[in-house]
Symmetry: C2
Subunit: 208 residues, 2 copies
Amino acid sequence: MISDRTVERLSLYRWLLEMRVDPGTVYLFSHQLASMASVSPAQLRRDLMAIGYSGSPSKGYLVKDLAGSIGAVLDGSEPSRVALVGMGNLGRAIVSFVRGRKSQLQIVATFDKDCRKTGRVISGCRCYNQDKIEEVVEKEKIITAVITVPCAEAQKVADRLVNAGVRGILNYAPVPLRVPEWVYLENRDVTAALEKVAYFARQEEERK
Amino acid sequence: MISDRTVERLSLYRWLLEMRVDPGTVYLFSHQLASMASVSPAQLRRDLMAIGYSGSPSKGYLVKDLAGSIGAVLDGSEPSRVALVGMGNLGRAIVSFVRGRKSQLQIVATFDKDCRKTGRVISGCRCYNQDKIEEVVEKEKIITAVITVPCAEAQKVADRLVNAGVRGILNYAPVPLRVPEWVYLENRDVTAALEKVAYFARQEEERK
DNA sequence: GCCTGTGAAGCTATTCACAGCT
DNA sequence: AGCTGTGAATAGCTTCACAGGC
């Protein structure tokens, strides 16, 4: 089992390999890729060890090959089908982010309870009414979801998603959701992150 | 020095104390607050140790007092003044999130390079043209900033912010920024987070 | 010589477990 | 009896440092 931290860095390495390496570059040493990712070379080599990838001591890593090996681990056999609930500003921003980035992620359904938004196609993606969560998630065999609804609804939405078969949730609502231990949950509370950054900024300022 | 993880949890505890505890509740035991935050009671007690707060073994923690003590550590003496660069969907979502939440954070300036947005007031906050970054950040003595610009601009914006005196950056652009070691940087790449969640969702699904 | 892969060491975060208090 | 505060143990993550290969 690959660790949380490692998976996140692998995603970054792949992006760098695909988007930030000059197409003429065939081989790369660990210190070069590590420097692009702002991690230590040892860290990078450990991460590659986790996916069983080996480079050549004399030439380094084969760029295309490494990107492919990371993809084989992260993406599995087919593109990940994702649902997103809550088409406010944040939800729409995430849909276009993901769409704009070359990636194996597909947001295949979005949900909202506001009638002005539902039934329409927003940012190139069909938006359903929120009662349809169970129906659509089951039919489309979706196991990954993003929650961008207001705080008060978040737990209810999470329960319904889990019930319909979702196994991983990325939560942007600022409330700690309660899910069964067999559902992977990542919380991304914006305010908490900003309070943290503000705290450490002040620390740095004070010891100037 | 309080650790990264602890500061983030403290922010959550305070929010729970202020928003999720029935106003009639005067005292709370560590296991009660820990359960609301989905952490272990031991974890909670360690975190409170870090800010030097003590409860009573018989009654637990005094709700109002604890919230105040956390605030004294996180907020410092005055509200944190924050700048946000990039008023797309994501930027606007964050501005209204922060505004809607009772908090000591104030987004006092936003920036964009699109003329249709600049000079206007969006989500209750003045939006300046991006050339004004140095001027406004220095004048307003801002040390904390959020970056929500497209990938290609992110590094340039970060350099300018740092130059103008910023000491903490919350970065939503999917590129690892390079900043001096005395600037605190938190990356929140949406795609990387989603790829991670999709990966672990698949793991859970496979060992059903 | 300078790289990779990796055992071992070092460091950080979390949990255990219990003394001490009420 | 049941809580808190905390030393000690454990688990997890990162870096060190070096054997082995080109």
